[in-house]
């Protein structure tokens, strides 16, 4: 459905200057030395992600995959309206803990990032950071129509329309919003994918790193973080 009004051309030339505290600068230390500080380089490691091979023996990998499937740790990060659908899963009615699904408060310990609904450009930046800080193998679920094709925000000036252009998505759950039951069914599907060894999003991200970065940078104008910030 391309019906671009060609009379409107977006401004492609303007760039956003880096925030002042992130620019390189020279600082005089208390003992009189002059040192150069580059916040983006000094505070983060910029090494690109690596492709991690599977375990050497297939049977070991299968065992690992079984464990990964039965111990899904979700990052408690609600990006849009679907965050409301994640909460009932902890309650007695749905009780996702039965299936080995748990919530972790920090990306370091989580394996599953649920993009719950529409993702504005501002939140996309945070979602990328959170995703890159997670340890592989890691999985992404796109929850709701907005992550699939924009949903009701298809003509919004500030929300992305297709999540898998920016992050490697393993599974979409359609609906606006999907009910918590649908989310549970999605977890079961994801478990099947993991057990079959098909959920290799982290490696896909590493392999196509340049492509993903280009897509991310095309929408995030004020890129004020290193390219890969684990």
């Amino acid at each position: 459905m391309k019906d671009i009004d060609e009379r409107f051309q977006k401004n492609r030339d303007r760039t956003v200057p880096l925030r002042e505290e992130l620019r390189p600068r020279t600082v005089t230390t208390p003992d009189g030395q002059e040192i150069l500080i580059e916040p983006l380089k000094d505070y983060f490691c910029e090494a690109a992600p690596k492709v991690h091979p599977k375990a050497y023996f297939q049977i070991v990998e299968n065992f690992y995959n079984w464990a990964r499937a039965n111990s899904l740790w979700i990052l408690g990060f609600g990006t849009g309206c679907g965050a409301i659908e994640m909460r009932p899963l902890m309650t007695p009615r749905f009780d996702a803990y039965r299936y080995g699904v748990q919530w972790r408060p920090t990306p370091r310990q989580a394996n599953l990032l649920i993009i719950s609904g529409y993702l504005s450009v501002k939140t996309l930046k945070r979602a990328i950071r959170a995703y890159e800080q997670m340890q592989g193998p890691k999985y992404v679920i796109g929850l709701g129509s907005c992550t699939i094709n924009g949903g009701m925000y298809w003509d919004s000036y500030n929300t992305i329309k297709r999540l898998d252009a920016y992050l490697p998505v393993d599974l979409y759950i359609a609906g606006c919003m999907p009910r918590p039951e649908a989310l549970l069914a999605g977890f079961m599907e994801l478990k099947k994918l993991i057990r079959a060894g098909k959920a290799e999003g982290a490696n896909k991200y590493a392999e196509n790193f340049a492509t993903y970065k280009a897509a991310q940078k095309s929408v995030i104008k004020d890129w004020d973080m290193p390219d890969y910030n684990w």
């Binding site: 459905m1 391309k2 019906d3 671009i4 009004d5 060609e6 009379r7 409107f8 051309q9 977006k10 401004n11 303007r14 760039t15 956003v16 450009v121 501002k122 930046k125 699939i148 094709n149 924009g150 298809w154 003509d155 919004s156 000036y157 500030n158 929300t159 992305i160 329309k161 297709r162 252009a165 920016y166 897509a215 095309s218 929408v219 995030i220 104008k221 004020d222 890129w223």
Partner: protein
């Protein structure tokens, strides 16, 4: 409300009163009289609460309309004060000394409509958008659909139905 309007009309060069309900009405005031009117409404007539400050883009007329919606809690009445600004060099008057909350609204208007409020605290900082490089997105000459199609990756295959025709064909296939 009409009494109030009659009382203020000549002194503040108000336009005609446009009632909506018994306790809600709108009135237009020239930009240079705005501060005097708002101050008097707040201090004398009990409109102590600034409910919101918003803008309307009258692109065809070359105007921005600012609406200061003010509420008199004790008297249970709401008055909307409208000001017309020139759209090409949209500069509003900073009101944050009357209501501190106005600063936030003015920051939002600066970002979303490009209406400047000189003197308002932090008015030039980003409010909601981060790294926005294009026209302020609430201006009507900003084409949201075209922008999103030029900017964001799309998944092919999306179709849109006219709801009326679609539901008709679903519910009454024979016609």
């Amino acid at each position: 409300m009409r009494d109030l309007h009659a009382n203020l009309k000549t002194r503040h060069a108000l336009g005609p009163f446009e009632p909506r309900r018994a306790n809600l009405g709108f009135v237009t005031v020239p930009a240079e009289r705005l501060r005097g009117l708002l101050t008097e409404l707040r201090d004398v007539h009990g409109f102590t609460h600034l409910v919101l400050l918003t803008a309307v883009d009258w692109m065809e007329d070359g105007l921005f309309q600012l609406t200061y919606l003010m509420n008199d809690r004790a008297g249970d009445r709401t008055l909307g004060v409208r000001v017309m600004l020139n759209r090409d060099e949209a500069v509003g008057e900073d009101m944050h000394d009357l209501w501190p909350t106005a600063a936030t609204y003015q920051r939002e208007l600066k970002e979303m409509f490009g209406i400047d409020f000189p003197g308002s605290p932090r008015v030039d900082e980003e409010f909601i958008l981060e790294g926005w490089t294009d026209l302020p997105p609430y201006r009507r000459d900003f084409d949201s659909l075209a922008y999103s199609q030029q900017t964001y990756a799309e998944r092919p295959g999306r179709v849109t139905h006219d709801p009326r025709a679609h539901m008709k064909s679903k519910l009454y296939p024979e016609g």
